[in-house]
Symmetry: C2
DNA sequence: GTGAATAGTTGACAACGTCAATTAGTATCC
DNA sequence: GGATACTAATTGACGTTGTCAACTATTCAC
């Protein structure tokens, strides 16, 4: 009776699931870690009226080079139509604006407004704290290692 | 003209996006890696009539202990109603069946059929090859490290 | 200048996530 | 042993996300 599983009806003598092959499956683990992390990030961003997706776009808009919508779609691996929706909402919130490209009238450049920059600075802190919660089981060195390995896979 | 970016209209003298803070953001990287990985997995699983989600459930059903639907929901972090839908489709395909729990008639035990086991064995290989593509930039040792770090975060 | 390609936009549709309510069965507590 | 609380599975609703095709305006290439 020392086992918390005793009250739940599983099969074969109250034996728990073992995850079989999935526990060694990087893709499964990545999906699970993402679910955990984006859940925390979502909570952290809610007070700012931002979702995870919009935060990522705002982050790009706040970078040193204002991106085009196409840049954003490529970088975030989004369909261009999704970028439209996110920027519509960010623009409605007053965080970014669409500006003309100097030499190509097809192109929109997404610039952060003052308000967008200020909000991003705060949101960034909140996300950072959320990250600390998600990665609490890792040492600083492990975090570093994880980041660099993911970076290799991601690009 | 040696630069492939020269044909695409970006801002500030054809300078590319630098990703700003996102490149050091574990959550962003995880999301991106997941998108890449599940894309490959989806392609690999399509010939079997399986989606990524259904493959994960089938994997559990093919494990040493047949799970209950509740076990599956907990392990995959799904709402119980989503499990219903996935098992409905797996059952319609003849890959699993719902069996009675010996001591609790509320509970369904999800068992793989012969066909389910056979299909899983093949699908597993296909997923493994897809994984090799996704993780091609990592050495075997790095893959091992990545897996164990993700495991620490995931559970 | 004509034809091919690209940026952004709109709309449609399936898949996914979340939540509330229902039904059937089991456990608890008096 | 009977009322009460809890749990497993299911259904249905609703908003979000992912994917795709089509369209317009503009630029590029020959």
């Amino acid at each position: 009776m020392t086992d918390a599983t005793a009250t739940r009806p599983s099969i074969a003598g109250e034996q728990r699931i073992d995850g079989s092959d999935l526990l060694g499956d990087v893709e499964f683990l990545v999906a699970r870690v993402r679910a955990i992390g984006s859940g925390h990030a979502r909570e952290a961003l809610a007070p700012f009226g931002l979702r995870v997706r919009a935060y990522a776009v705002l982050s790009l808009a706040c970078g040193s080079v204002s991106p085009t919508q196409r840049d954003i779609a490529d970088f975030l691996q989004l369909d261009p139509s999704q970028v439209v929706a996110v920027i519509d909402s960010l623009e409605a919130s007053g965080f970014v604006r669409r500006a003309q490209h100097p030499r190509d009238r097809r192109v929109n450049i997404v610039e952060a407004t003052e308000q967008g920059l200020a909000t991003y600075a705060e949101a960034r802190e909140a996300v950072s704290r959320a990250r600390d919660r998600s990665l609490g089981s890792l040492s600083a060195e492990e975090r570093e290692t994880l980041t660099s390995l993911l970076l290799k896979v991601a690009f």
